[in-house]
C-alpha cells in the first residue's frame, strides 16, 4: 500500500469516508513519519500522540455508527503553537510560556475538533510569531526539508516544514506580516492569509491584534480551501470577526483546477516586480506570469505607490501593539517567574522574569513599540504609520478597480542558510517586504509554489480584495494545475 503520508488531505478524507483506510491508520502513519524525521526537521514542539489517536478512534467509531462525517474527518492537522489548546502545552515559541497548559481552547482548535480532524501536535515558530526564519524560537530552529541547512521561513516555519516533510497533510498558521505565506513560499507549500476578520483570533496569542490572521497551510490549494472552510466564519468571541459566511473557497479552488483563467484580470504590482528580489525569484515569478497568461488571464501592470512604505509602517504598528499585548507576561497569573527569592520587589521580579523569558527579537520589538507609543513620539511614529496604512489600503482599492487580483513574488528571497540574517535584524525584516501590504489593508493573500530557483522553491503571491478570498484560490489552483507539484528531495 502507498505510504498514507503521501496523500493530500482531500484524498485521505476520501479513504477514511469510504472505509479504505481508518482514521487511526492515517494518524499512525503520520505519527510514525514524525518519529522518523522530526529529529532532523524539528517542526514540532509537542506531539500529542494519545490525543491524536483518541480523536482518530472517535472518527472511526462515528463512521462505524453510520454518522455523517465532515469533508476533513479523520485527516491529521498540526497547529502552530500560538493557538491555545486546552490542557496541551502552548508556548508561542517562548521560554516565558514553556510550561503553560491553557485552561481553554482557541476557536480555531474547537472548530478543528468539531470538523473531525485529528490534531497531531503543536508546531515550532519564531517566539510570539516575531521573525521570518523560526530561528527566534526559544526551542531551537526548524529546518527546511528542501535543504536542512536552510531556514523554513517564519514565523510559522514549523507548520510549513511539517507539510514539506510529509509529517502532516494540513497545518494551521498565523500571519501578521507574512508568517504563513513566506514559510509557504520557501518550503514549496501553500499558505493562506485569509481576510482579516474571516478567521477567529480567539485563543490566538496576540502579537499585533490589528494584523494577526490565523489561516490554513497545506500542500495543495484545494486542501487549503477545505481547511479554510472548516476554520473560517463568524465568531462572537472575537469582536473583529466579520459576520458573513466564508467565501466559497472550495468551489473556487475546484474551478481554478480546470486551468482556465479566461476573463480574469491580474495586476502585477510594479513596485514589487523589479528591484528588491533575488534574480532567481524574479525569473521564476516572470515565468509564472507567462503561464498565467497562457491560462487565459489578462495580466497588466498596476502601481501601488505607497507599498514602499508598508515595511516601515508595519514595523511601527506591529511593535506598538505587541508592546502592549506582551505586557501580560509578567509572571503573576501564568508562565515563568524568575528571581522571586523573598528579597526582590514585584517590579524587580517582573523585570527579571521578562528579561529571562523573552528572546532578543521580542525585546527589540517591545522596546521599539514602547518608544513609538510614547507621548512625545506617538504622532510622528505610530500616528503617522496609521495614516500610511490608510494610503496603502487606498492603493489596494484603486488597484482592485482595475484588476480582480494582484500578483507578486511572495518573498524576495529563497530559503536562506540558518544564521545568515540573525546578526542584522533589519535584513530579516525584508523577508516580509511583499506580504506586509495585505496585512495592513486586511485583504487576503495566498502563496502558491510557482517554480524553483537553484533547486529551492519560489512562491507566487495572489492578493485579493477583502472577503474575496475565493478569487485568489481560483488563480492559485490554476497555476498549481499548470506548474505543480514541487516535491522536495527525500529526507
Amino acid at each position: 500500500m502507498t505510504d498514507l503520508t503521501s496523500f493530500s488531505a482531500a484524498e485521505l478524507a476520501g479513504l477514511v469516508a469510504r472505509g479504505e483506510s481508518s482514521a487511526v491508520e492515517v494518524t499512525q502513519a503520520h505519527l510514525d513519519r514524525i518519529s522518523a524525521v522530526d529529529d532532523r526537521v524539528h517542526a514540532f514542539l509537542h506531539v500529542d500522540t494519545e490525543g491524536a489517536l483518541d480523536a482518530a478512534r472517535e472518527v472511526d467509531s462515528r463512521r462505524a455508527a453510520g454518522e455523517p462525517l465532515g469533508p476533513l474527518a479523520g485527516v491529521p492537522v498540526a497547529v502552530k503553537d500560538v493557538l491555545t489548546t486546552k490542557g496541551i502545552p502552548t508556548t508561542a515559541g517562548s521560554k516565558i510560556l514553556a510550561d503553560w497548559r491553557p485552561p481553554y481552547d482557541s476557536t480555531i482548535v474547537r472548530r478543528l475538533r468539531a470538523a473531525g480532524t485529528v490534531m497531531l501536535g503543536k508546531t515550532n515558530m519564531d517566539e510570539f510569531a516575531m521573525g521570518s526564519s523560526t530561528e527566534y524560537s526559544a526551542f531551537g530552529p526548524t529546518h527546511n526539508p528542501w535543504d536542512l541547512s536552510r531556514i523554513p521561513g517564519g514565523s510559522g516555519g514549523g507548520s510549513s516544514a511539517a507539510l514539506a516533510a510529509y509529517e502532516t497533510p494540513l497545518s494551521i498558521g498565523s500571519d501578521t506580516g507574512g508568517s504563513i505565506r513566506q514559510p509557504g513560499a520557501v518550503t514549496g507549500t501553500v499558505g493562506v492569509k485569509p481576510t482579516y476578520g474571516g478567521t477567529s483570533r480567539y485563543g490566538l496569542i496576540a502579537f499585533s491584534s490589528s494584523l494577526d490572521t490565523p489561516g490554513p497551510c497545506a500542500r495543495t490549494v484545494l486542501d487549503a480551501a477545505l481547511l479554510h472552510e472548516a476554520i473560517g466564519g463568524h465568531d462572537p468571541l472575537d469582536s473583529t470577526s466579520i459576520p458573513a459566511p466564508v467565501p466559497d473557497v472550495v468551489a473556487a479552488a475546484r474551478l481554478g483546477a480546470s486551468g482556465d483563467l479566461t476573463g480574469v484580470r491580474l495586476g502585477v504590482v510594479r513596485e514589487f516586480a523589479g528591484e528588491g528580489a533575488e534574480p532567481g525569484v524574479l525569473a521564476a515569478f516572470r515565468a509564472a506570469v507567462e503561464t498565467l497568461t497562457k491560462l487565459g488571464a489578462e495580466v497588466v501592470e498596476v502601481s501601488c505607490p505607497h507599498f514602499q512604505y508598508a515595511l516601515p509602517a508595519y514595523y511601527l504598528i506591529a511593535p506598538s501593539e505587541c508592546s502592549s499585548n506582551l505586557a501580560r507576561f509578567d509572571g503573576v497569573r501564568f508562565g515563568l517567574r524568575v528571581g522571586d527569592d523573598g528579597t526582590r520587589s514585584l517590579e524587580e521580579v517582573m523585570s527579571a522574569t521578562r528579561e529571562a523569558g523573552f528572546g532578543p527579537e521580542v525585546k527589540r520589538r517591545v522596546m521599539l513599540g514602547t518608544y513609538a507609543l510614547s507621548s512625545g513620539y506617538y504622532d510622528a511614529y505610530y500616528g503617522q504609520a496609521q495614516k500610511v496604512r490608510t494610503l496603502i489600503s487606498r492603493d489596494f482599492t484603486t488597484a482592485f478597480d482595475q484588476v480582480d487580483a494582484l500578483i507578486s513574488p511572495t518573498t524576495p528571497f529563497v530559503a536562506f542558510p540558518v544564521g545568515a540574517r540573525t546578526a542584522d535584524p533589519y535584513q530579516m525584516y525584508l523577508a516580509d517586504l511583499f506580504t506586509i501590504p495585505s496585512n495592513l489593508y486586511g485583504g487576503p493573500g495566498i502563496s502558491v509554489p510557482c517554480g524553483l530557483a537553484d533547486g529551492l522553491p519560489v512562491g507566487l503571491q495572489v492578493m485579493a480584495p477583502t472577503m474575496a478570498d475565493d478569487r485568489m484560490y481560483r488563480v492559485a489552483a490554476a497555476l498549481e494545475s499548470a506548474v505543480g507539484p514541487f516535491t522536495p528531495p527525500a529526507l
Binding site: P102, G203, S209, D238, S239, S324, A327
Partner: protein, 499 residues
C-alpha cells in the same frame, strides 16, 4: 508636623479654591464589561473569572451591550452629547491587579461629552459642568500580607483576587469648578449627592460609596484672587458623602498652610483618612506617567445610532430634581420644609415610607425627628441608621391603630434601630402595647381615685383640669402603656363629670 493649621475662614478670606471631581461608578450589569462572568459580590476568590478577565494569552474582549446602554443613559441624564463614533483605548501601566497590564478605557474619544448637572447648595442653584462620561473596566483586588496595617506599605507579599477585574466602570469627570469660595466643600458634596441620586434613579448602579461601587476622587487647588489657578492635588479614598466635604475642606486648609509658609503645592495623589479627616501624600505625579494610550485594536468603534439614543432618552425615568419638585407638591410642603428633607438626605426614605402606607406628615415626622436626631448623634447617614421605611410605616400603623402611644412608639423605634426586628415583634416581645383592656384600666382608675380623694373631689366639683394629676397616677401604675386620652375619659366618667 507641628505647624498650626489656619482656620477655614482665614483660608477662604485669602484664597479662592478650584475643585473638580472624578467619579467612578460600578455598573450593576449582570456580567462584566468584556466577558460573561457574573458581577455579583461576595464570591470566594477567583471564582468569577474566565480567560478574558484573567487576561490569559489569546483571550479577547467583547463589549457588554447593557454597559454601553447604561453609559449612554448616564450621559443623557447628565445632559451630555452622545458621540456619534467613539473608540476604546488601552491605558498601559503595570500593576498586578490589572490582568493585562493595560486597562481598556476611553481616551480622547469618550462616549459622552459636555454635559451639566444642576444641584442646590443651601437652596441656591449651582450648575456643575460635566466634561466627559466614559467606559472602562475595574481592576482586581489586592490583599497586602505581612504589613502591620494590611496596607501596601510594609507588606512582604500580596495576594490577588480577580473577581472584580473587568466589572464595568463608568467615569464621570466634571470641568474645573471655580468660584465656589467658602462653599466649595458643600458644592462638592451636593454634586456627588445629586449624581448618586441620578444614578440611582437610572437604576444603573447600587451607588454604595462604602462598598466602593461609587468612588470619588477630588481635585483641589487654591489661588490668590485674580491670579492663575494653582497646582492641584488629587485626593483619593473618599468613601462617603461626608468625606467628600471633609476632604475638600481639609485639603484647602493644608494647601493654604503650605502656601502661607512660602511653600509650593506638589502635583500629587493624596489619600483621605476617614479617622483623622486629613489627607496624606501618595504618589507624586511630577514625573507624569506616560500611559501610552492607543486605540484598542481588539474592539471595534461604538457608533450609537441616533434612533437608539432617542429610544434610550425617551425611556429615561423622571430625574431626581423634577421628581423632588413633584413630591413637594404632592406632599404639600413649603420650600423650607422640602429643603430640610433634602438636607437630611431623607427624600427617598420618606417617599418609600409613604409608599409603605403612611401619610406624608407622619413619615416626615419620624425621619426628620427621632431618626435624624439619632443620625446626628452617631454621625451616620440617615439611610444607614438601621430603620427601614417599611418599619417606620409599620410603627406609624401601630400608633394609628391605638396600639402604641407616641411615647411608646419612640421606645419601640429605639429597639428597631438596635436591630431587634419589626415594630410589631418588638412591641409584643417587650410588652409595650397600650393597655386598652378597660377592666384593668377601670381598676387602675378606681385605685387612683381612692388614693387621691381630695383631687377627686375637686374634679367632681367642676375643676376638670385637676383630672391631670389622676391621669398621671394611672399612667404611672400602667407604666405608660395606657392611652392618656382614654384614661382621662374614663376618670371623668367614673367621677360622673362631663368632659
Amino acid at each position: 508636623m507641628t505647624t498650626t493649621l489656619p482656620a477655614y475662614d482665614e483660608v477662604v478670606a485669602r484664597y479662592e479654591p478650584v475643585i473638580g471631581l472624578e467619579t467612578h461608578v460600578e455598573l450593576g450589569t449582570n456580567t462584566k464589561m468584556f466577558c460573561g462572568c457574573p458581577t455579583d459580590f461576595g464570591g470566594a476568590p477567583n471564582t468569577r473569572v474566565c480567560p478574558v478577565c484573567l487576561g490569559l494569552p489569546g483571550s479577547l474582549p467583547v463589549a457588554n451591550r447593557a454597559a454601553v446602554e447604561a453609559t449612554i443613559r448616564i450621559g443623557l441624564a447628565l445632559n451630555c452629547s452622545i458621540a456619534q463614533w467613539c473608540r476604546f483605548a488601552r491605558k498601559n501601566y503595570y500593576y498586578p491587579d490589572m490582568p493585562k497590564n493595560y486597562q481598556i478605557s476611553q481616551y480622547d474619544e469618550p462616549l459622552c461629552v459636555d454635559g451639566y448637572l444642576d444641584v442646590e447648595v443651601n437652596g441656591e442653584p449651582v450648575r456643575i459642568s460635566i466634561e466627559r462620561v466614559h467606559m472602562e473596566e475595574d481592576t482586581g483586588k489586592t490583599l497586602h500580607v505581612g504589613g502591620a496595617t494590611g496596607r501596601i506599605h510594609g507588606a512582604t507579599e500580596s495576594l490577588v483576587d480577580y473577581n472584580r477585574a473587568g466589572i464595568p466602570l463608568v467615569e464621570i469627570v466634571t470641568k474645573p469648578i471655580p468660584g465656589a469660595g467658602a462653599m466649595a466643600p458643600e458644592v462638592a458634596r451636593a454634586y456627588v449627592t445629586e449624581l448618586r441620586d441620578v444614578l440611582r434613579s437610572l437604576g444603573v448602579s447600587d451607588v454604595r460609596m462604602e462598598e466602593g461601587s461609587l468612588r470619588c476622587d477630588v481635585n483641589t487647588s487654591l489661588n490668590l484672587p485674580g491670579e492663575q489657578w494653582g497646582t492641584r492635588t488629587e485626593t483619593k479614598n473618599v468613601n462617603s458623602l461626608r468625606s467628600v466635604e471633609r476632604a475638600v475642606r481639609s485639603e484647602m486648609i493644608r494647601q493654604a498652610s503650605v502656601l502661607a509658609a512660602g511653600g509650593r503645592i506638589t502635583q500629587e495623589t493624596r489619600h483621605f483618612h476617614e479617622d483623622t479627616g486629613d489627607t496624606t501624600s501618595g504618589r507624586s505625579k511630577e514625573t507624569a506617567t506616560d500611559y501610552r494610550y492607543f486605540p484598542e485594536p481588539d474592539l471595534v468603534p461604538i457608533a450609537p445610532d441616533p434612533t437608539w439614543v432617542a429610544e434610550l432618552k425617551a425611556a429615561l425615568p423622571e430625574l431626581p430634581r423634577l421628581h423632588r419638585r413633584r413630591l413637594q407638591q404632592e406632599w404639600g410642603l413649603s420650600d423650607l420644609d422640602m429643603q430640610s428633607i433634602l438636607n437630611a438626605g431623607a427624600v427617598e426614605l420618606i417617599e418609600a415610607t409613604i409608599a409603605a402606607g403612611t401619610t406624608p406628615t407622619a413619615a416626615r415626622k419620624w425621619w426628620l425627628g427621632e431618626l435624624s436626631r439619632r443620625a446626628n448623634e452617631t454621625g451616620a447617614e440617615l439611610a444607614d441608621i438601621g430603620a427601614t421605611p417599611e418599619q417606620v410605616a409599620e410603627l406609624q400603623g401601630l400608633v394609628d391603630a391605638g396600639k402604641l402611644t407616641d411615647k411608646l412608639a419612640r421606645t419601640v423605634l429605639e429597639h428597631v434601630v438596635a436591630g431587634e426586628g419589626s415594630p410589631a415583634k418588638i412591641m409584643a416581645d417587650r410588652n409595650l402595647e397600650v393597655v386598652s383592656d378597660t377592666g384593668a384600666l377601670t381598676a387602675a382608675v378606681d385605685e387612683a381615685i381612692a388614693a387621691n380623694p381630695a383631687i377627686a373631689d375637686k374634679v367632681r366639683g367642676g375643676k376638670v383640669a385637676a383630672a391631670g394629676a389622676l391621669v398621671g397616677a394611672v399612667m404611672k401604675t400602667t407604666r405608660g402603656q395606657a392611652d392618656a386620652k382614654t384614661v382621662r375619659e374614663l376618670i371623668l366618667e367614673r367621677l360622673g363629670v362631663q368632659g
